[in-house]
Amino acid sequence: MTKVSMTIDGVRYDDDVEPRMLLVHYLREVAGRTGTPIGCDTSNCGACTVLLNGMSAKSCSVLAVQADGAEITTIQGLADGEWHPLQRAFHEEHALQCGYCTPGMIMAAADLLRENPHPTEHEVREGLEGNLCRCTGYQNIVRAVLRAASEGVAS
């Protein structure tokens, strides 16, 4: 067992974990933050995307011990009293159906807008290449991200 401590959505956690424990399992099963789901084994689907020290990471492809000392933001920590503009935009633009990809998609989009506050449609599509959705055909996701951008999310 290895000691890890990290801050998840503003709350500090200290635990002993097996070194092989995946960060996403730590989030879901140790910290009880089940808002972040798991969709694949190979870091292709992006459903488990979180912000790790402010940058997007696929929490299924990070060991919990690698995140020692890190600050993690999940979909459950994104809203600050009110919904984050991306959460609002996803709702308004009907950018989700089953919603399984949504936590990862929103976190990836948050990272995208941090990097590029005013992306073109093409840049949004390219920026979300690591997040798969099987329901929406992506059109409304792209619209939602552009809408959030136009509302000045990054500021």
């Binding site: 969709g39 292709n44 990809c101 997040n131 992506y138």
Partner: protein, 781 residues
């Protein structure tokens, strides 16, 4: 002033929990003492199991139990196939955990139950299984050949199902033009984003099963029927379910075994699938060889169509496996008039993952084949493919129209949808650009694909299902519960897994009862809350389940009338209904709102004699016909003839799904369906090696496209109401996936026809396109 809810682009009620991470996926469920199951799966496509030793696994740290098939042999029964399509169909026994033979890579042979999933995964590696290899059977044609190794003792042919209407001999005799083609529908993996998961909690002799399923009601019935668990002691819950597309329209080995393990151990257990496990175990879709023959006159008029299908069942018949190709049988004639139709489907066993419903289930295959064949016929005749379609389609004036397949299309307007699509697309302009690129020998060629599709939604009239030997009905159930405060609970037997029923049903009920959209809550997906239902598949929710909701509302309104008359001390005959209120005709001040009636019913102080104190209702609706959405999809692709790479330049879809309850949701369904159809056309294929190993076990190998791979879709609608139901709705869940595949593939081939290319097998990967070009040039294949 009342606002009509039907037709409003309401944002969804479901979203609040989904965008904030408060969703209740099955894998989120925690129970005290919950144990974790891991399944060991066969690494062999076909083998006799000579021994399974789980003793080392039993002794591993954290392990509570380990089982092999022998441990369940006496009680596990056989996974059900509910659709014995012919009287002499071969339905092989299908034990949830294999006992003596395995027939595909991924079949369950043993399991471990441990205190956590890490320990379970470790112990799985300690199970020792001895296999005696048997020959894999992978190719359908080879499987049917004399002397082929057998998948099952009874043979590799499960059934042959024929349909003949009209005089085929007359249609084909002396036909001026006959074309014959063979198309292949590759095998697909549905790839819902949420992998499957189950949790079972036994309490005494009662069980609650949570499962990521589309069909909690059907599952409950079949678990009870097969395992002998009294139905009243079994509760099935489908919590938030992360997509299905048919893949969760199944009664699975894992669900059976989860219940059996919980029963054996008397402790709650959970199983969560990984993606790479799921690709090996969730049923696959499509996988057909389609031999098509069309007879036509020189002017393009269709005379007859012959369809000879080989459909890969995989190793076993799952819930509706044999019925899937039959759902297409009635759709090969599509929107076209013709004199004769013959359809024959042979179900073939192979040592691969069983196939079953995947978005569209039979109709995408049929639509692809007929649209492709129409393009091929147009090329043969030297005619514009759109013109050929116009010459053959059912005209607007001809509805209702009974097709050669025997279905009666109640309504449609192919002219209107096509005209709109052609204009949005800039059809003539693109044809001009295509001509100039052809003339200049541009290495990047332009192709235009057309899909003037229809499909059948709203599965299904129960009588018809009976005639087709399906094991259940096609009705749906709904209840309305009026709460004392005037708020409304709607209970639906449709089981949503991303479609937005909570929103759409609220809109329907708001209009029917005249209550506010916000005052309505929709409940579903739990047999203890929603005891009756046929669940969600086959684009049936709105066209069947939605109509049941209307029926339930009507019953509440009728009850309310009697109560209102009593409260107002007038004759019920003097009352008139305005949305939300019964009032005295000619004296509208005198009336009671539905909320007031509801409260009065709750108090029950002043109810008329003989009126029970309840303003709730139950309704079931059995459709008398399918509904038939249609539309015209046009796709332009650019093909880099040097590399074979295809890129979609524009995509226009004009769909007619009848009355639209919520345009946001309808557009979303179309976007997603179109994307899945494009994925079949260009990207996805479940590939096997010569030994029967699935090569596409992960999303690194099975290429589900991302936002960066897909185009922007330009959507529009025409609205020709269905006449078969009171809302005029048709359904939209599968339309996009049915329509788009032939439009895209047609565009690819259209780009290459001048080079001599007549077909590119799906998916049209760059390599396949390059080879097709080379082959047409007489070069290397």
């Amino acid at each position: 002033m009342t606002v009509t809810e039907i037709g409003r682009a309401r944002t969804r009620k479901e979203d609040a929990r989904l965008v904030t991470g408060q969703t209740s996926w099955t894998d989120n469920i925690q129970l005290p003492g919950l144990l974790h199951i891991a399944f060991l799966r066969s690494p062999m496509a076909h083998a006799r199991i000579t021994s399974v030793d789980v003793s080392a696994a039993r002794g591993a740290p954290g392990v509570i139990a380990a089982f092999s098939g022998a441990d369940f042999a006496a009680e596990q029964g056989s996974l059900p196939c509910a659709w014995p399509v012919t009287p002499d169909i071969i339905i092989p026994a299908h034990p949830p955990m294999a006992t003596d033979e395995v027939r595909y890579v991924g079949e369950i042979v043993a399991c471990v139950v441990a205190r956590n999933k890490y320990a379970a995964a470790d112990a799985l590696e300690l199970i020792d299984v001895d296999y005696e290899p048997l020959p894999a059977v992978l190719d359908m044609e080879a499987a049917l050949a004399e002397g082929s190794p057998k998948v099952h003792e009874a043979g590799n042919k499960s059934f042959v199902w024929p349909l003949v209407n009209g005089d085929m001999d007359a249609a084909f005799r002396d036909a001026p033009v006959v074309i014959e083609r063979t198309y292949r529908q590759q095998r697909l993996i549905p790839s819902a984003m949420e992998p499957r998961a189950t949790v079972c909690e036994p309490v005494g002799d009662e069980f609650t099963l949570w499962s990521a399923t589309q069909i909690p009601h059907v599952l409950r019935f079949l678990l009870a029927a097969v395992l002998g668990i009294p139905e009243q002691k079994l509760r099935v819950v489908a919590p938030d379910v992360g997509g299905g597309f048919g893949s969760k329209l199944q009664v699975t080995a894992e669900e059976f075994l989860t219940v059996l393990i919980a029963r054996k151990l008397g402790r709650p257990v959970k199983w969560t699938e990984s993606r790479s496990e799921g690709n090996l175990a969730v049923h696959h879709g499509r996988d057909q060889i389609q031999r098509i023959k069309i007879a036509a006159d020189r002017d393009g008029r269709l005379r007859g169509l012959s369809v000879d299908l080989l459909a890969d069942m995989g190793a076993y018949l799952m819930l509706v496996t044999p019925g899937v190709p039959l759902l297409g049988a009635f759709m090969y004639n599509a929107i076209y008039k013709m004199d004769a139709l013959s359809f024959k489907c042979t179900g073939v066993f192979t040592t691969k993952v069983p196939t079953d419903a995947y978005r569209g289930a039979g109709r995408p295959e049929a639509t692809f084949a007929i649209e492709h064949a129409m393009d091929d016929l147009a090329a043969e005749l030297g005619m514009d493919p759109l013109e050929l379609r116009k010459r053959n389609w059912i005209t607007h004036e001809e509805f209702p129209y009974t097709t050669i397949a025997g279905l009666t299309y109640d309504s449609g307007n192919y002219e209107a949808a096509t005209a709109k699509a052609v204009e949005l697309f800039g059809y003539d302009e693109l044809r001009r650009e295509q001509a100039s690129r052809r003339a200049s020998g541009d290495p990047v060629q332009l192709g235009i694909g057309i899909s003037t599709y229809t499909e059948m939604c709203g599965l299904a009239p129960s009588r018809l299902l009976g005639q087709l030997a399906y094991g259940a009905g096609g009705w749906e159930h709904a209840s309305i519960r009026m709460l004392p405060t005037g708020k409304v609970e709607v209970v639906t037997g449709s089981s949503a897994h991303g479609q937005g029923h909570e929103t759409a049903w609220s809109q329907i009920v708001a209009d029917q009862l005249g209550v506010a959209f916000e005052d309505i809550r929709v409940l579903h997906g739990d047999t203890a809350i929603s005891p009756k239902g046929m669940d969600t598949y086959g684009s049936r929710s709105l066209a069947v389940g939605g109509i049941a909701v209307v029926g339930a509302c009507e019953k509440v309104i009728a009850k309310a009338k009697v109560i209102a008359a009593g409260l107002l001390e007038v004759s019920a005959d003097d009352l008139e209904w305005t949305p939300g209120r019964w009032q005295v005709r000619g004296d509208p001040e005198q009336g009671r709102s539905i909320a007031e009636i509801s409260l009065a019913t709750f108090a029950a102080h002043n109810l008329p004699d003989g009126v029970e104190p309840s303003l709730d209702s139950d309704a079931a609706y059995d459709p008398n016909n399918f509904s038939y959405p249609h539309g015209t999809h046009l796709c332009a692709v650019e093909v880099d003839t040097e590399t074979g790479q295809v890129s979609i330049r524009s995509y226009v879809a004009v769909d007619d799904v009848g009355v639209v309850v919520n345009p946001l949701i309808v557009e979303g369904q179309l976007h997603g369906g179109i994307a899945q159809g494009i994925a079949q056309a260009l990207y996805e294929e479940a590939a096997y090696d010569a030994d029967g190993n699935l090569l596409t076990t992960t999303l690194a190998d099975y290429l589900v496209p991302s936002a960066a791979d897909l185009p922007t879709y330009v959507l529009d609608r025409t609205e020709t109401p269905a006449t078969s139901n009171p809302l005029g709705v048709k359904g939209v869940g599968e339309a996009g996936a049915i329509a788009s595949t032939p439009a895209v593939v047609g565009a690819v081939i259209d780009a290459l026809r001048p080079l001599g290319v007549t077909d590119v097998e799906m998916p049209c990967t760059s390599q396949r396109v390059w080879r097709a070009i080379n082959e047409a040039k007489g070069g290397a294949r």
